[in-house]
Every structure is written in structure tokens, then in C-alpha cells.
Amino acid sequence: MDIFLQQLANGLTIGSMFALVALGYTMVYGVMRLINFAHGDMVAASAFVGLTIYTQVMGQATSLGAVIAIFLLSAGSMAVVGVILERVAYRPLREAPRLSAVVSALGASLVIQNGIMLIWGPRMKIFPELVPPLSWDLGGVVISLIQVIILALSLVLMLALYFFVEKTRMGAAIRASSIDQDAARLMGINVNSIIALIFVIGSSLGAVGGLFIGLYYRGITFNMGWQYGLYAFVAAIMGGIGNIPGAMLGGMVLGLFNAFIAGYVSSTWADAFTFILLIVILIVRPTGILGERVAEKV
């Protein structure tokens, strides 16, 4: 039972990180029908940018204000990278065959990943301990302060995003653009700014996810974007890609599943089980758990 509760806590933590990153995939997909393969590498880049801001700009301060500043600056710089990425690599290909945009995304992913390697080097870096290493023992279940912060902040961000998309005029414009870009344009929505906005939101959420990964796992490598990005992407697909609550649900399901596999089976099989779960879900529900069954129009 202890293992169960412990892995439940760990799973929720990992799951909320997956969910944050998955939101970036799913929002971009929702509007552009494009798998943004570079998103995972932006998540990795965010951890490195955060590290550099911590050492160079903040002078290794770990006060609350400094930590908040690190988060804001990292998220801000990734938002800028995201908008540039869309402008340079994706916008020229909007009318092109879909696979061309996919390859462009893969190219962008290689550029960012190897850019990180060229700037920060190929070896693993240790992310600073920004949060005091407190933890509580609740009857055999150890929960750390980092876990609490990750979980709470992720929930706040996800709820904020949900209300933004569902309840505001801007959110309505995002939803309209994801249903039909041309019709949205006819309604006076500037689809280009909506897409830029989506890259701002998605990239900054991913940036927060990247910092969480740094805080939680401590070791960061230039190529970790593939790994975490792929997991988050799987989470987005599981939930039904393009669907915002689906990405949150998918992230949590995947995090819990992973934690239980690691706890009860073996972490050396985690990848295999994750993808088997994904394949089974897709065979049963071809568009994900919350994905809508869209009838193909002729």
C-alpha cells in the first residue's frame, strides 16, 4: 500500500509535468494540424536558459523573488523563441503538403537540440536547487516540497489556461481558428496573431515544464527534449490531440502509469509499456480518450 501511495504522489508530479508540456503540442496541433517536434527541445532549452539566468543574471540567488524571476525570464525567452520558430520554419509551409511541415519541424528540433549542445556542451549539467529540499513523511509516503510546488503550480496554470480558452473573447478566437481558419478569418479574427499567441502560451508552459524537469530530476542534458517531448506528445495523443483537457488528462494518465510501472514492474520497461498502452488506447479509440470522432468530409 505504501508503494501505491508513494507512486501515486510521484505519478501525479510527473504527470503534471507531462501535461504542461503536452499542452504546447496539443494547442499548436489544434490550430495548425502540425506536430511541433521542436517543442520538446524548447522544453530542454528552457532548463538550460534557466540555469544560465540563475548563474549569470541572478548571481545564484535562491530567494523567492529570484526564483520567480528565473521562471518568468525563462518562459519569456522561450515564448520569443517559439514565435520566431513559427515565423521562420512553419509559416512559409502552411499551404505546403503536410509532411513538408513535419520535416521542417524535425529540422527545427535538430537545430535547437544541437544549438543547446554547441552552447552548453554535450555533458550533463546539474540544475540548481532553487527550492529548499524539504520533505514530509506522511505515514510512509514521502512528499517533497518540490513535488507540492510542481503539482500546485501546474494545476493553477492549467486551470488558468482552461478558463482563458473557454471563457474569454481571445479564447473564443483560438477555438474558432482551430475549427476553421478561413471562417475565423472571415469573422475578423487575425489568425496569424492567434497562431503567434498559441506559440507564446505553448512555449511558456513548456518552459515552465522544462524548469520543473530540472528541479525534479536535477540532471539536464541537451538531448533530453526528445525523451520528455516524446512522452508529452504521447500524452497529448492519448488524450486526443488538439483537445486541451485531453492533454491534461493524458499527461496525468501517462504520469501515473509510468510511476506504477516503475514501482511495480521495472523502469527498464517503462518506455515499452508506455507505448503499448498508447497503441492499445489508439486501437480502441482511434482519436484518443477525449478526441472527437470527426467524420471525414468529402
Binding site: 506536430i35 529540422g107 527545427a108 537545430v111 537540440q113 554547441l118 489508439l282
Partner: protein, 318 residues
């Protein structure tokens, strides 16, 4: 252009046929790598380019063939050439079984599922399931080629083995284009619903394409295992699949395009070795640039011999 094409193939074959005698050992090895990866990229082209299925797991079938050869040779002492039938059949079987339940999935879902298969495959190899895959280190120390009791230890014989496999693949692809299944796949790729409505069994042909691609990739795997006399899981990682995927799309899913892509991706880095750390950084930019400048690929494929006056609007391929 047409006259150029007419001459370029015989010239290409003639150059490739004498090439190993002009190169030293190291460049022979590079040439063999080029041949092997060309075959895998062409097999990927059958599934992705010719049939339009978003397959990002072709390294799986490549690895299946390589491991079949390695295991049969290393564990059971079969000569390398004798493993060929199984190294083709097992990936075909794998392709049919894996494709069966997933071919109905829409584009991107199919893509992530095939990535998934590839990752599961690599993890199975790494965890040494059944105790025959050699775990993370793989299997090494395979025999060299032998034919009727003669040992063919020189690298030149591996080169001709690889070259023969490439010729076979090109022949299959040429025939495919002129045959009923090839036309069916082409319609499928252009418009699945229309293909279905004129009586093409889309499910059957999709699975067929997967099986055919898998078999060819498996044969390439045998050549790979022979050349390196070793196999290891990371050689068949899904990153490799991503490279093959990109090569086909950037190349334009035509034979010259794919060969050019393999050359750029695997041979150029050998020439510019001092830029090794910059390799993927530059490739990334090249991929973006290539797609922006030529969204249908460097050398876009044309299908069959459709008279010009029948092509309306000129939109070709999707």
C-alpha cells in the same frame, strides 16, 4: 531533363559497379554504408512516399532483419547468406502483424504508433528478451560472407552484395510502379476515399505496402550485419527512423531524390569530418530550408507514364 534521366541511370550504375576498385578501405566502407542506407530509405519510400502512410518506424524492420541474421549466424552457426530468406520473411511477418491493427489510424496517430513500435523494439533488444539479443551491447563477431565454401573476407565482396541488394530494390520499385498494386498505392496516397470508391481494397494494400517495405528493409539489415559483423540496439533507434523519414520527404520520394538524401545525410559527414559536432545543427537548417524552397522535395516524384495532356492543373502528389 528526360534525356538527362535516360543517361544518368546507366552512368550511375556503371560508376557504382567499378567504384570499390577506385577507393581505399575506408571509403569502401562509406560506399557500403551509402548502399545499405539507400536500400532502407527506398523501402521507407514505399510505405511513406508511394503509399502516403506516415511511418516513422522503418528502423524497426531494418533492425529485425539485422538481428535475424546476427542471431542465426551467432547462435546457430548459419552462414550469412543462408539467413537471407528468414531475414526477409521475419520482418515481413512483423510488418504484416504490426500494420494489421493500426493501418486504419489517421496520419499523425499512425506516425506516433510506428514510433512506439520502434521504441518497444529497441527496449526489447536492450533488455535482452529471450537471452539472444545480447542486451545493450548487441551481438558482435559475426562470420564473414561465404559462398559454396569459399570465404569472401574482402570488403569488396560485401560491397557487391550491397550493390546487388540495391539493384534488386530498384528493380522491385520499378516494377511496383508499373503494376496493379503500385497503381492502387498511388491512388490510395492521392485520395483514400476515392480509391476506396473505385473498388480498391485500401486496407489490404496498406498492409501489403508495410510488408513489402519491411521485407526490403530486413534484407538491408542482413547487409548491415555483414558489413559491421555486429548489431546493437542504438543502430535501429527511432532517431534513425526519423532520418529515413526526413530523407524520403526532403528527397521528394523519387529514386534520385532519395539517393541524394542518403548521400547528403550519411556520406557528406564523412567528407567533412572536422564539422562533426555541427552536423545535425546544419542538417536541421538544411531541412527547414529545403522544405521552404521546395515543399514537394528536391526531386519530386512523378508517377508512371501519364500523358501530359491528361494532367490537369499539374498538381501531383500530396
Amino acid at each position: 531533363m528526360k534525356a538527362f534521366r535516360k543517361f544518368s541511370y546507366p552512368v550511375f550504375f556503371a560508376v557504382m559497379a567499378v567504384l570499390p576498385h577506385l577507393l581505399n578501405e575506408r571509403w569502401q566502407a562509406v560506399a557500403i554504408t551509402f548502399l545499405i542506407f539507400s536500400v532502407v530509405a527506398l523501402s521507407q519510400d514505399i510505405v511513406l512516399g508511394k503509399s502516403g502512410m506516415f511511418n516513422m518506424g522503418q528502423a524497426l524492420f531494418f533492425g529485425m532483419g539485422a538481428y535475424t541474421t546476427a542471431i542465426l549466424n551467432h547462435e546457430f552457426g548459419w552462414p550469412i547468406l543462408a539467413t537471407i530468406p528468414l531475414a526477409i520473411l521475419i520482418p515481413i511477418l512483423g510488418g504484416l502483424l504490426l500494420a494489421g491493427p493500426i493501418v486504419h489510424l489517421r496520419g499523425d496517430y499512425l506516425l506516433v504508433t510506428t514510433i512506439g513500435f520502434n521504441i518497444v523494439f529497441v527496449q526489447v533488444l536492450q533488455n535482452n528478451l529471450g537471452g539472444v539479443t545480447g542486451g545493450p551491447n548487441g551481438i558482435f563477431g559475426l562470420d564473414s560472407l561465404s559462398l559454396f565454401g569459399t570465404q569472401l573476407t574482402s570488403q569488396v565482396s560485401v560491397y557487391y552484395f550491397a550493390f546487388a541488394v540495391l539493384l534488386l530494390t530498384l528493380w522491385i520499385m520499378r516494377n511496383l510502379e508499373k503494376s496493379k498494386p503500385g497503381r492502387a498505392l498511388h491512388y490510395l496516397r492521392e485520395d483514400q476515399l476515392a480509391a476506396e470508391s473505385i473498388g480498391i481494397n485500401t486496407r489490404l494494400y496498406k498492409i501489403f505496402a508495410f510488408g513489402l517495405g519491411a521485407g526490403i528493409a530486413g534484407l538491408a539489415g542482413t547487409v548491415y550485419a555483414t558489413q559491421y559483423s555486429a548489431v546493437s540496439p542504438e543502430a535501429f533507434d527511432f532517431i534513425q527512423s526519423v532520418l529515413f523519414f526526413s530523407i524520403v520527404i526532403v528527397g521528394g520520394s523519387s529514386v534520385p531524390g532519395v539517393l541524394l538524401g542518403v548521400f547528403v545525410m550519411f556520406v557528406l559527414p564523412e567528407i567533412f569530418r572536422e564539422f562533426a559536432t555541427w552536423r545535425f545543427f546544419i542538417f536541421g537548417f538544411a531541412m527547414i530550408l529545403a522544405m521552404i524552397l521546395r515543399p514537394r522535395g528536391i526531386v519530386p516524384a512523378t508517377f508512371g507514364k501519364i500523358p501530359k495532356f491528361l494532367i490537369k492543373g499539374g498538381s501531383h502528389g500530396a
